[in-house]
């Protein structure tokens, strides 16, 4: 361990208002910590910049999953294990349940939280593309009050988010209107478990009268932020899935993404695989329609 625990302060008020007051009192000083699966790695490597940590693991209102007629509201400190084990989430939001099952190992899933994944804002995070295609909305809370932000507007640049220094993510709401969609999730990592994605896809689609009525595509690890492929989606709307479309889609995906070479993979590989995954989704969509 490269950090000196004596240099850190950790408080655990167990009360949301107290946490928010702390954040408001010294906004850039305090760092909220829930499961710690990202922060403890930085801490252990001696790279955690903040010295003051406030525990939000033990705040009950952040750990609930509430099911309303039109939405499911997921508390920001809900773990991947909780998401995987929740019947409504698994049934109606399989892309999110799948992403939760890909993240780290079982121990990480028991501690890692959805809100933490969003706040950490890694473009390689597995659950974020799912939130994009499900039109998630996040509620941010501070002593100044609550505000709701469409998740598509949350990520603003590499590790830049809409979250202010005195704010916490309170919950994530998902509208319950995607159960009729065909969904496809695939993670491409360096190995089948405990790997950070080289590319990951969350996709939803629905066919009407033999043509695509709506396609929703989001990719991880191909841009500075988790990326929704709006242009490609628009180019698919109303089209029949046939060989000529596949070639066009491939080009459209490659135009829309901005992958890089890094320690895990190459831009060329990421671009090709991203396009392959979208094509794989379209083929699945076509097959499901045939079956229906």
């Amino acid at each position: 361990m490269r950090a000196d625990p004596a240099e850190f302060r950790l408080v655990s008020p167990g009360d949301l208002q107290v946490v928010l007051s702390l954040l408001a009192s010294e906004p850039t000083e305090w760092l909220p910590i829930a499961g710690g699966t990202d922060l403890m790695v930085l801490y252990s490597a001696g790279k955690l910049p903040n010295r003051k940590l406030v525990n939000i693991w033990n705040i009950p209102e952040l750990r609930q999953i509430e099911v309303f007629p039109d939405t499911i509201r997921i508390g920001a400190a809900c773990t991947y294990t909780a998401l995987r084990g929740h019947d409504d989430v698994s049934r109606e939001f399989p892309l999110l349940a799948a992403a939760a099952s890909w993240t780290g190992g079982i121990a990480n899933q028991n501690r890692g939280t959805l809100g933490g994944n969003i706040a950490n804002a890694s473009p390689a995070a597995d659950s974020l593309p799912a939130l994009l295609v499900y039109d998630a909305e996040v509620t941010l809370i501070s002593v100044r009050g609550n505000r709701r932000v469409a998740y598509r507007d949350f990520h603003q640049g590499y590790k830049q988010t809409a979250l202010a220094a005195d704010e916490l993510i309170r919950d994530i709401s998902l509208p319950r209107r995607f159960s009729g969609y065909v969904s496809h999730a695939r993670k491409v990592g360096a190995r089948n478990a405990q790997a950070i994605s080289k590319v990951c896809l969350a996709a939803l689609g629905i066919i009407a009268n033999g043509a695509i009525r709506d396609a929703r595509l989001a990719l991880g690890s191909v841009a500075p932020i988790p990326l929704r492929l709006h242009e490609t989606e628009r180019s698919l709307a109303g089209k029949k899935i046939e060989p000529s479309l596949i070639g066009t889609v491939r080009q459209s995906v490659e135009r829309e993404i901005r992958p890089i070479d890094d320690i895990r993979s190459t831009a060329r590989y990421r671009a090709a695989v991203a396009a392959n995954l979208v094509v794989e989704f379209l083929e699945k969509l076509a097959t499901e329609r045939t079956r229906a």
Partner: protein, 690 residues
């Protein structure tokens, strides 16, 4: 604070050549070379102390690749950047080219690999003016550390004590490096007069300690029209890093294994270990053989294609047979039948049916499947005259209560050494297994039975344990205390009686080279190993054309290793070795930047998990062998040799691309399938994605 000036003895890590300093005095030859040691009673203070140190370097031109090193425009070691070279010559190679129907050439590469043992390198050292230096650590060769500390501390044999603590895996990675870290702890302890503990964290361990030698092998082979090898040239080069360490020995094993399990009427093997400015590469399970055998077994598939015969047939036509000689002109005296071994492996893997089915199914779909085979051998024990120089000594002692204790410096690190050696002693003494214990390897207690390396423990040390144990029995019988057939109770009683009369009951056995073993170190000719283990492995692989990832779907590992002393442990060794070799073939890539590993974290250096591994089906054939204890031959390293070529051969079968390098990552498969070469790429962005 300790610098080179504080070293009481010789500033080197004494091993083969004493070229590696313990602390750099004037020059550093790789980015992780130690210069200054700091200790503090509160280890957290050390980070601050390190931050307060600044080192100014005067840059010299670096050498980071084997090719740069061979060019010799910058000399970084000796006069020609070569730590060692060997020349093996058998028959008249020049005469074969004119009769060849085909001349098959190929160049093959293998990468560095990190051992990734469970716990990182770590030691505690304590100095006492009376007793000298004691070191407790995670290590595999107590007497290597002992020798290195004597030289470094300038202390006599009896003032250095090395104790091996429970060690969670080593794989060769704790063969030479513990001498370095033990030296550092000892120097700090001598100066501070306090016990000093050094335990690397994973990032330090991965960046600074030894890895498998990267290699390049070139083959040029004369082949008859029916696919028989007439002769050939093999050029085997390994990257040794900045200091000689064990490179000469790794090179030796790689050289001797370069011809595989085949009959070469004539061959010339030129081998060289070259210097580069990276941390020294070192011992890792297989020790040079996985590198040169990868090349040989890929090359055999290439020869098959050129000759228009199958990978199976090309091997059948070239297998070594009893009475024939290896590349070093060692006559095969064992009654080995490689043809039979191959036939059985093909049967166990359902090779022919699957290969035909895959060829059909691969016409459509995004998942292409293939079958690959590798046939190979692994010499047990030290190379050539090595065992004679080691001159190993083993003891067995019995107490007054009849309790038996095995005294060896051979270390347990998960491979089953303790179990197997106790089994051998119990068997020799006709005692139940529970009646035999093994002493903790402590240089004040156990004799030097040599290092725990080279798949030598069961075969060489086991044989000595057997004869030392028999010595106890003979002593008791000679004094009339024990009869021919005895019960454990009678054995215990006789030990008590003997000790009351004579004091102690100990028996030692020293290695004696078998009379028929001939080896010429100059010409690199003769009996390279006392015994070989033989194997044929079959890999069933698939290549996913959506992700370009290769996965191994089924794996058959069939080997002839003489007597299997402990079936469960033996199967575990093979399974683990195959898993580690799958990592070597498809996952584990050390990313270098200016001589430094930059992916020194387990999140970025990708070791396969159980979710990535196929069923590994292990089978043994037994022929028996004249040398080993109860006919056992070494098995520890064998399974590291075959999987990589079998897998890459399978990939070629699946998608028809001839890959020559490992690790073979999805990015490599992708690039090979692209019509146009990669665009010129600038330096990669420093932006991360975590």
């Amino acid at each position: 604070m300790v610098t080179a000036k504080d070293i009481p003895g010789k500033n080197c890590i004494s091993l083969i050549l004493d070229d590696q300093p313990c602390l750099a005095a004037e020059t550093v030859n790789h980015p992780e070379e130690p210069i200054l040691l700091l200790a503090h009673a509160d280890c957290r203070m050390l980070r601050k102390a390190v931050d307060a140190v600044s080192i100014e370097y005067e840059p010299l031109p670096p050498v980071h690749t084997m090719e740069e090193s061979e060019r010799q425009s910058t000399i970084i070691w000796g006069t020609d950047n070569a730590f060692k070279s060997y020349l093996v010559e058998k028959g008249d190679v020049e005469a074969v080219w004119k009769d060849a129907a085909h001349i098959v050439e190929g160049e093959y590469f293998t990468g560095a690999q990190e051992q990734l043992y469970i716990e990182n390198n770590g030691v505690i050292a304590a100095f006492d003016p009376e007793d000298g230096v004691t070191v407790w650590g995670s290590l595999q060769c107590p007497y290597y550390v002992h020798k290195a500390l004597m030289a470094l501390c300038g202390l006599p044999e009896d003032k250095i004590r090395v104790v091996q603590m429970e060690t969670g895996g080593a794989f060769g990675g704790k063969e030479e490096y513990p001498s370095m870290i033990a030296g550092h702890a000892a120097l700090l302890s001598i100066k501070s007069q306090r016990p000093v503990k050094i335990v690397y964290d994973r990032m330090e361990d991965m960046v600074a300690t030894t890895k498998r030698h990267p290699s390049r092998t070139r083959h040029r082979t004369a082949v008859s029209k029916d696919g028989q090898i007439l002769g050939g040239e093999i050029e085997f080069t390994i990257d040794g890093g900045a200091y000689a360490t064990l490179s000469s020995v790794v090179l030796s094993r790689g050289t001797i294994h370069a011809g595989g399990p085949y009959y070469w009427p004539s061959v010339r093997i030129r081998a060289k270990a070259v210097a580069t400015n990276t941390p020294p590469h070192g011992a890792f399970r297989g020790f040079g053989a996985p590198q040169s055998l990868f090349a040989m077994e890929r090359h055999m598939d290439h020869i098959a294609q050129v000759a228009g015969i199958s990978p199976v047939e090309v091997r059948r036509r070239n297998f070594l047979k009893p009475g024939q000689t290896t590349t070093t002109e060692q006559t095969i005296r064992e009654d080995i039948d490689l043809d039979h071994l191959l036939g059985r492996a093909l049967e166990l893997s359902d090779y022919a049916a699957k290969k035909a089915r895959f060829a059909e199914e691969n016409r459509s779909g995004m998942r292409k499947k293939g079958m690959g085979i590798a046939a190979f051998l692994h010499g047990a024990g030290f190379t050539g005259s090595g065992e004679r120089y080691l001159n190993s000594l083993v003891g067995v002692e019995a107490g007054a209560d009849g309790g038996v204790r095995v005294l060896v410096s051979s270390a347990e690190f998960g491979q089953g050494t303790n179990t197997v050696l106790c089994q051998i002693a119990a068997e020799a003494l006709a005692l139940p297994y529970e009646g035999v214990m093994i002493a903790r390897p402590d240089t004040t207690v156990v004799p030097n039975s040599g290092p725990t390396v080279a798949s030598r423990t069961a075969m060489i040390v086991g044989t000595l344990v057997q004869s030392a144990a028999q010595g106890i029995k003979q002593t008791l019988m000679k004094t009339g205390l024990l009869g021919d057939n005895y019960t454990p109770e009678q054995f215990r009683a006789s030990c008590g009686q003997f000790i009351r009369t004579h004091g102690a009951l100990k028996s030692y056995a020293r290695y004696e080279a078998p009379g028929d073993v001939y080896w010429d170190d100059e010409k690199y000719r003769g009996e390279a190993y006392a015994a070989f283990a033989w194997a044929v492995y079959v890999a069933e692989v698939s290549v996913d054309l959506t992700t370009y990832a290769v996965t191994v779907d089924d794996f058959v590992a069939l080997q002839e290793v003489g007597k299997v002393l402990h079936p469960v442990l033996a199967e575990g060794q093979i399974t683990g070795g195959v898993a580690q070799a799958i990592g070597f073939a498809l996952y584990e890539k050390v990313v270098w930047q200016n001589g430094r590993m930059i992916n020194n974290q387990m999140t970025n250096y990708i070791m396969p998990t159980s979710a990535d591994l196929p069923p590994i089906r292990v089978f043994f054939e037994q022929l028996g062998n004249v040398h080993g204890a109860h006919g056992a031959k070494g098995i520890g390293e064998l399974p590291m040799d075959g999987p990589a070529p079998a897998i890459v051969n399978g990939v070629e079968d699946a998608i028809g691309v001839r890959f020559r390098s490992i690790p073979l990552l999805p990015e490599d498969v992708f690039e090979a399938l692209q019509p146009e070469p990669p665009r010129q790429q600038g330096p990669s962005s420093t932006r991360g994605t975590t």
